[in-house]
Symmetry: C2
Subunit: 358 residues, 2 copies
Amino acid sequence: MTAEIPPRQGRTTLQDVARLAGVSAKTAARAINGESNVRSDTRERVFTAAATLKFRPNRLARELRQSARTGAVGLVIGNLDNPFYSQLAAGVDHALREHDLELIIASTDDEPEREKVVVQAMLERRVTALMLVPSATDHSYLEGERQLGLPIIFLDRPPVTVVADSVLWDNHTDVRKAVHELATRGHRRISALADSPELFTATERLTAFREALTEAGIAPDETLILTSIHDATSAASATADLLARDDPPTAIIALNNRISIGAVSTLLRDDPTCAFVGFDDFDLGETLGISVVTNDPREMGNYAGQIALRRIREGTGTPERISLPTRLVQRGSGERPASSPHPSTRGSRPAPGLSGSD
Amino acid sequence: MTAEIPPRQGRTTLQDVARLAGVSAKTAARAINGESNVRSDTRERVFTAAATLKFRPNRLARELRQSARTGAVGLVIGNLDNPFYSQLAAGVDHALREHDLELIIASTDDEPEREKVVVQAMLERRVTALMLVPSATDHSYLEGERQLGLPIIFLDRPPVTVVADSVLWDNHTDVRKAVHELATRGHRRISALADSPELFTATERLTAFREALTEAGIAPDETLILTSIHDATSAASATADLLARDDPPTAIIALNNRISIGAVSTLLRDDPTCAFVGFDDFDLGETLGISVVTNDPREMGNYAGQIALRRIREGTGTPERISLPTRLVQRGSGERPASSPHPSTRGSRPAPGLSGSD
DNA sequence: AGCAGGAATGTCATCGATGTCAAACAGGGA
DNA sequence: TCCCTGTTTGACATCGATGACATTCCTGCT
């Protein structure tokens, strides 16, 4: 007759494979998942059937059934535009890579409200672990999940109202060391540029900065401490403003990567004599001879990923708080004596004081 | 009696909420999803019940039921470490942001085999759309999905054996313009540094380079064309080798971002006299006065994201092939006449010829 | 009061894979 | 040949939310 077999709508399912192989769905599943206790000839038949039908298992169904362990990990960061965050993500990606885990990434632009929204979405998707660079200050909304056994790992900034693992930087040691170095070379007017004081890292580093000044016998001059600098552009103009003061600083320390970039670009143009130490490394930092307190965001991401993997395997236990070391890389830009003469030409070429030498 | 209500294992479900609110699961669902035809007092009861139980809907279940439209988009890129890719991802993220779509990111390190694996995983997770920077050269394995109506968008490099939308750069116009500029200023020995010839972008840009030379009446000198440069480090040494030749080029053009960084770092140290044009912008590029053919990966990601959104809404139609313009930004590093004197000091400071002026 | 008709709610099956448990089967020993 | 044990296989319920459809509840109107 004209009765045709209607072409199957949508994707082929395990049922279809089973039907074609002449077995039950369960047996097909056993074969596909490589379970033992399947006769090798049936296994073959199932495989060819699956290949013929281009069968693609549906993870949603599988994960729904085996509730609790999905194959997705959620990562919440500030913004993929910022190399700090994207390298962090690269590190996490690297750690998860071999373990059949997918990485769901969402960015918050450091807005607490958005953090809640994207975390919510991830929880609805039942991620196996949640990793986040927090922007919100209250994380009690995660308490329920923690009790349900969801591994939660905080990166770069610690959890506030919830107990969870965290991987942070040692924001003190090398910042202090850098300041001490500057003080040793005779600098007394040292300026610090930082992001918003609401950010954990900013206040930590500023605290270290102030302590180091005090230790060096220098009274912190609050007019030299500029905060709430969110991007390279404002860092650049803040630096220019500093230099234009009647009594400008002889050294500047920038407390994150974007601020470093902005400050360096101003210094390269305007003032070759000001000593400088940046935070986080950047392209050409070595070539230009810029001293930095450097860290490797990939390492942080990778480390946090390892913790996540362990928690997934072994269940959550006593939360860990890891502090990763930074590294002070002296490349010369912090060594300029405060007494160097100003060049007569402004902006005609990069500051020699900032260039690589060794 | 001692019969206690056992504390519910695992997460609360819609059933639990319904039970507590004294309605059926379906009604609870209607209330939660904001459907009409729910009396406001029942809606209230459901909401408070949901809040009490901290109910979190299970997207896996929902998406399994409504097969076809999940809320996840898959993005396959080379490597989050590379700012080109991470900014691409930032652009996609930005485009999807307001549409309740999650972004699943996987990286291939540009290995064709890995591409298949991660794409496979995304398909199993039933992404609503697939966006990828392809590394494989054969994409016939995607044909089935295409026929099932899955929107597939290629970025940066075109699809080969499958029909799909693609968003590419105009790899010709500005490369040619840059070469013409150099030729106009008298350069005859112009070197090009490119990535692997298997990469679409590398060969396209090299083709443009060769054509431009020919148009300018210069016979392409193959010894000046170096390929298979994969990272900044090898670009730096390749550049150093070039400069050390008996008859070094007077101008160099780098054909992607990592190569640009590497070349610039060598030029800054070793040879201020060689003219240079980079590809893709980078931090401090402006400050250092490096001329570049620039593009905005975020724009590409965003654009591709828009296409994905449209395809998701309106279904796939005739595939589009979009070519985004680049921009030639002249900042001085390409203007150095070939006859400039070599400086006597090597490596003592950045090349004035490469520094920003005006 | 009776009734039409829309609003509100409920029942049941379903999405696709898999855990549970039982049935069918095969092979070896008595 | 028959029984026993271990291996393969299958039937069925389940994960949680929701679509299709049925039922009950109102409200206004004759």
